[in-house]
Each structure stands twice: as C-alpha cells, then as structure tokens.
C-alpha cells in the first residue's frame, strides 16, 4: 500500500514535466510517422535529425541568435538531412533503412563538427518558452502551452495539406508508387519532399528540446527512434490509423501516453538503464502482434513498404 502510494505520488508530481517533454517529442514521432505511414518509407533519419536540430539550435543560441530564427534554421537543416536520405534511396536504389542508417551515422560526425564539442550549455539564453504570457518562465506550464500550441498548429496545417490536391498526391506515392507515377505524379519530388518534411519535424523537436533543457548534446538522439516508434504504436492503437485525421493525431496522442507510461515505470522503481530494453520489447510485441494473431485464422495483410 505504501509502495503504491509513493509510486502514485511521485508519478503525479512528474506529470507536468513529462507532459511538457512529450509534447516536444511529439514532433519527432510525427517525423517518424510521416515517412513510415504516409510514404511507406521506413526512415531512421530522425535518430540523426533530432540531435542535428538540437546542435544547430544550440550553437546559434550560444552565438546570441534569437530563439525563433534558431529553430527555423534547425528546421531547414533537418529538412536537408531528410532530403538526403530520400535521395540516397531513390538515386542509388539503396534500401530505405540502410539509407537512414548511413545518414544518421554521418550526421553524428556532422553534429560534432557543428558544435565543436560533445555538449554545449545554452542555459540563460532566451527561449520560445519565455514568451508565454502570464506564466513564470522555466515552469513546465509555459513549455506545455508553447509546445502544445505549435503542435496544434502543425496538426491543423498537416490535416489541411493532406486533403489538398498536392497532399493527396503525396499520399498516393506511399499507397502505390507505380500507380502514382502513372497518374502523372513526380514520385521523386513527393518522396524527397515528404521525407525532408519529416526530417524538419524531427529537427524542430531537437531544437525545442535544447531550449527546454538548456543544453545541447551530441548523444541526445540515442534511442529516440525506438521511443518514437513505441509512441506511434501506442497512438495508433488508441486513435487508429484508418483516416488522415486519425493517422495525424496518433503521434501526438501516442507521445503523451507513452511518456506518461515511462514516467510511471520509473516512479514505480524501474532502473533507468533498463528503459531501452523495456521499450524495445514493447515495440517488438506491438510489431509481432499481427503475426501472432495470424497463426490462427486467415493471413493478415502485411505492411507494404518500399525496399
């Protein structure tokens, strides 16, 4: 009884901090979802694009740049990184996953070069979270409001985009690239643009994270991909993925629920080093579930992905 009470008490105390963190990381989950679900392009770039955004933002802020331009430049850097992954896949016919691994490995060196050292403190610099009115800067509430507002804005914009003529064409590239091409859609342009957009979101997540935590670290991306995937799976299990609004809401819902879950596990006394193993096992279970169900009854449709 005491254990439960202590666990609950420390969990509840952590809810605001975790919520702020999860709203920021929702951008990374979005950056994982767009290539994976909208373009059938399983992409690992986010593992490199997230710290890239953080490093770029950190260096710029340390040099005295205002927080918003720093985020925008981080966004562009992430966009370029995503474009490179897509280009490597399309031009050299390298498997999407391998292209992503190549990109994130190369980005590690690039991130180190950008910062010139492995971590950089930007503590005390003005951040976007300081702009939230009526709230004390640095308090989780300001982060929740700011990250939540940007998230909502991105959600609405993406929802609109994927229903436009151009957005429908991008989704067609993911659904059936040959058919899309036969309908006059430039598959290269849509893929490069889409994966680039995903890289941009991952980088924005990194930039916001640096502004939130007050430092940039070249290792901040370690394991972010598997966390993001776990969040996406949870989100899809809750809101589904059968329509564009649901598919777009899944990363946000998933990120919020997943990080609360992690926080609960930690509050319950799970040693932090075990976290990656637990997350990995969870993602494995979620991915294995359809094939376990399949051993009885008819074969379920396999996820179609580009190779």
């Amino acid at each position: 009884m005491d254990f439960l009470q202590n666990t609950l008490a420390s969990f509840i105390a952590l809810v605001p901090v975790t919520l702020a963190q999860s709203l920021i990381l929702a951008f990374v989950v979005l950056g994982i979802m767009i290539p994976f679900r909208m373009l059938s392009f399983p992409d690992l770039t986010s593992e490199g694009a997230f710290p890239l955004g953080g490093c770029v933002c950190g260096v710029l802020m340390a040099a005295g740049m205002a927080p918003l331009p720093a985020i925008l430049i981080a966004l562009i850097a992430g966009f370029v990184a995503g474009c490179c992954t897509a280009f490597i896949h399309l031009r050299f016919r390298i498997h999407t996953l391998l292209a992503g691994i190549l990109m994130m490995t190369m980005l590690y060196s690039i991130n180190l070069r950008i910062m010139g050292r492995s971590n950089l403190s930007v503590f005390g610099s003005t951040t976007v979270f300081d702009w939230v009115p009526f709230l004390q800067p640095g308090f989780p509430a300001s982060k929740i409001v700011m990250a939540g507002t940007i998230g909502l804005l991105v959600f609405v914009l993406l929802l609109y985009f994927f229903r436009t003529e151009k957005g429908t064409a991008v989704r067609a590239v993911g659904a059936n690239p040959d058919m899309a091409e036969a309908q006059g859609i430039n598959v290269w342009l849509a893929t490069i643009g889409g994966v680039g957009l995903a890289g941009a979101f991952s980088a924005v997540g990194g930039a916001l994270m640096v502004q939130s935590q007050g430092f940039a670290d070249v290792n901040m991306g370690l394991g972010i991909l598997i966390n993001g995937l776990a969040a996406l799976m949870i989100g899809e299990a809750i809101v589904g993925k059968q329509s564009v609004p649901r598919q777009l809401a899944a990363p946000f819902v998933g990120a919020i629920v997943y990080y609360q879950l992690v926080s609960f596990c930690l509050a319950a006394g799970m040693p932090p080093p075990d976290l990656k193993l637990a997350t990995g096992l969870f993602v494995l279970a979620m991915l294995a579930l359809p094939s376990l169900k399949r051993s009885r009854g008819p074969a379920a449709a396999r996820e179609t992905v580009r190779e």
Binding site: T168, A172, D178, G184
Partner: protein, 259 residues
C-alpha cells in the same frame, strides 16, 4: 495519333541470356483508331506498352504522341497525355485510399495539383455520376477504401479513372485477363462504350481472340519484337477466331510479306 519508329530494346545485352524484346518495331495508330495487339508470350507486347508509357527506356527509336516526340519523357510527364489500365487490378489503384480519392488522383492526371482542397462537392458529384454509369453501385461507396472492393470493381474503377479527362492515348494491358468471364464482360462492355463515346485513340493488348475479332478497327500481331501482321478494314470485319489462331502457328506467305 501514336507513332513508334524503329523501336529497339535489348535486355541483358552482351550476356548469355541476351534477349531482343523490340526489334525495329514500327507502328502507327491514327487519331480515334482502336488497335488490338495480339501475339504469343515474349512477342514484345508488354515491352511495347512499357516503351509507350515510359516505364521502359528504348535503346534506339522514337515514340511520338500526336506528333510530339515523348521518347525522353519520364512516366509521370507522359501521363499528361496517356492513361493506362493494367492487367493486375492492384496496380492501377491506390489500395489504402478511398474510391473518391482514387478518382481525384486520376482527375488531376493532366492538371497542375494545387494547394486547394481536393475532394470538393462539385468533384464528388461528378465522380458519383461517372461511377453510376458502370451499374456496379460504386457511386454509393465513394468513401470505401479500394482494398475492400472486389477485383472486378477495382478494374472497373481503373477503367473509369483512365478514360476520364479523355486522354490522347488509352493503353489497355490485358485489362480483363485477371477477371472472371462475367466481370470481364462487364468491364469490356464499359470499355467499348467509353472508347466509342469519347472516340479515344486506343491500344489494347489481349490474349482473348474473341475480343480481338469483336472489337477494334485493326488487329496487330507481334512476333519476336516486331509487327508481323496487320489486319484492318473489310478483312478485319470478316475475320474469325480460327483464322487468327491459325496465324499463331503457321507463318503464312502474307505474314512474311507484312514483315
């Protein structure tokens, strides 16, 4: 009008399994003409269609549509001028998207895609009307994802998508071969109605000799990557299935003359 001039394509060049798919193939299809292509497996029918659509890059030779050289154009640029229905119903539609969204994609084939809303009420109404012509009830399933439709329904949808917007050239690649006889008949009737109503320049590949006899203005028989035989006009009207099948096995004098 479609013109193919001395198209040549060799696969696995210089290797032991070198294969000449198109061997100086020449073909001319007038505007509004309906050509039916027959030929045994490996005769070059698919290679020819792929060369026209742009999926196959020719070693030498040219493809012209309405007098414009499209040889160097990638698939998505040629799509502005031509539409294609594939043999496999899965290939011509986006399975995870709805019927209406698929119609929209086809609708935009030859237009610039904008940042305006895709499925507006005007478009939905016109899709409903066009799909109702099939009589398959697809007009009431605009929001159904295509993967939930039967093969015949998907192929019918592919056809409606292809003929919409009156393409300069319609390519039909054994588009009824994967369907049961009754559905094949429905799709074929819909094809003929659309082709005649819109006076589409059409090239249909088929293994169905009855279709080759019944439909089209001209039968084009391919063999070893070139046109071996063309039957048009009064001769085409009088031809029977046994006649056509005869041409497959026996190389008649006329076939040599035609080459």
């Amino acid at each position: 009008m479609l013109e193919i001039r001395s198209a040549r394509k060799v696969f696995y060049k210089g290797q032991a399994d070198e294969k000449t798919a198109l061997n100086d193939l020449n073909l001319r299809l007038e505007t509004g003409e309906f050509g039916v292509v027959i030929g045994s497996n490996g005769a070059g029918k698919s290679s020819m269609l792929n060369a026209i659509s742009g999926a196959l890059v020719l070693d030498t030779g040219k493809v012209l549509i309405n007098g414009d050289d499209v040889t160097a154009m990638p698939v998505h640029k040629r799509a502005i001028r031509l539409a294609r229905v594939f043999q496999d119903p899965m290939k011509g539609t986006a399975a995870s998207m709805t019927v209406a969204e698929n119609m929209l994609l086809a609708d935009l084939r030859s237009n610039r895609r904008t940042l305006r809303r895709g499925l507006n009420p005007v478009r939905l109404a016109s899709y409903k009307e066009r799909l109702s012509l099939l009589g398959l009830g697809l007009e009431n399933r605009l929001d159904t994802r295509v993967e939930l439709l039967s093969g015949g329904q998907r192929q019918s949808l592919s056809l409606i998508m292809a003929v919409g917007g009156s393409p300069e050239l319609l390519l039909l690649d054994e588009h009824t071969a994967a369907l049961d006889p009754r559905t094949a008949d429905i799709v074929m009737q819909a094809t003929i109605r659309a082709v005649e109503a819109l006076k589409l320049t059409t090239l249909m590949v088929t293994h169905n000799m009855q279709h080759a006899v019944d439909f089209g203005h001209r039968v084009i028989m391919l063999d070893a990557g070139r046109v071996r035989l063309e039957i048009a006009g009064r001769e085409k009207a009088a031809i029977t299935v046994p006649d056509l099948i005869g041409h497959f096995s026996v190389k008649t004098d006329r076939m040599f003359l035609a080459s």
